[in-house]
């Protein structure tokens, strides 16, 4: 399930609603992204998240569907906010629930890594010297490439063996 909204979300309520009655779930991994007060060495007073509504929904659904082909998941949720946010505010929520904890961890990690490089959101940070569009991080591309299926990493095999 995916949702893009201006409003805040309640993590506990989201997990409870998503997992209610699904008694095959053994592990729930959740990631929450928060607005930091510092970006690089610059103090941030607020941030505005712009997005491309028609495409955002499609991309998030695509990412979620991909995760569900890769891991045996009982439930997934992505909630992403847009609009003006302040330090400490929640930006994004990703939940992956599975019978086993490895699948929950991997899928949750995959979802946020992909979201960071594929979902059409842009952050504009406001500091004392005005606003600046955030630059994409090369580290995010690297994180996403980790999940490329063609270059099967030894680690991925090892993890599955541990399940």
């Amino acid at each position: 399930m995916i949702r893009v909204q201006r409003e805040d979300f309640d993590i506990g309520a989201e997990i409870a609603a998503l997992t209610a009655g699904k008694r095959a779930i053994g592990g729930v991994c959740t990631f929450v992204g928060l607005v930091r007060e510092i970006a690089g060495d610059r103090a941030i007073s607020a941030m505005t998240l712009e997005h491309y509504p028609a495409m955002t929904a499609k991309e998030l659904e695509r990412i979620e569907a991909e995760a569900r082909t890769r891991w045996p998941l009982e439930a997934t949720l992505i909630v992403h906010r847009y609009g003006r946010l302040e330090p400490g505010d929640r930006i994004v929520l990703v939940i992956a629930a599975s019978a086993h904890r490895e699948a929950a961890f991997e899928a949750c990690h995959f979802l946020i890594d992909f979201l960071k490089t594929k979902a059409p959101f842009w952050k504009r940070e406001e500091g004392s010297e005005g606003g600046t569009w955030v630059d994409a991080r090369a580290a995010d591309d690297t994180a996403t490439r980790r999940w490329t299926r063609k270059t099967e990493r030894p680690q991925r095999k090892r993890r599955h063996a541990a399940e």
């Binding site: 491309y52 028609a54 994004v92 946020i112 059409p120 959101f121 842009w122 630059d135 994409a136 991080r137």
Partner: protein, 83 residues
Amino acid sequence: MKILYFAWLREKAGRAEETVDVPPGVATVGALIDWLKGQGEGHKAAFADPSLVRVAVNQEYVKLDHPVRRGDEVAFFPPVTGG
């Protein structure tokens, strides 16, 4: 053809969207960018460094050689920074 601009491309282009009638020769994303660059200083600034520009046609990521047709929604934006 509907063109959308996001983030700093929107600011540089001076508009969030516009509907354009492109000449018949403009058949790919790359050709569309070249044509848009001739439409004013803002457009020229927005596309000054093509390596910073990402493109979606009808809400799907595409490359510069992707075809564009009348009725398409073409969006230009910088690398994404959500999450």
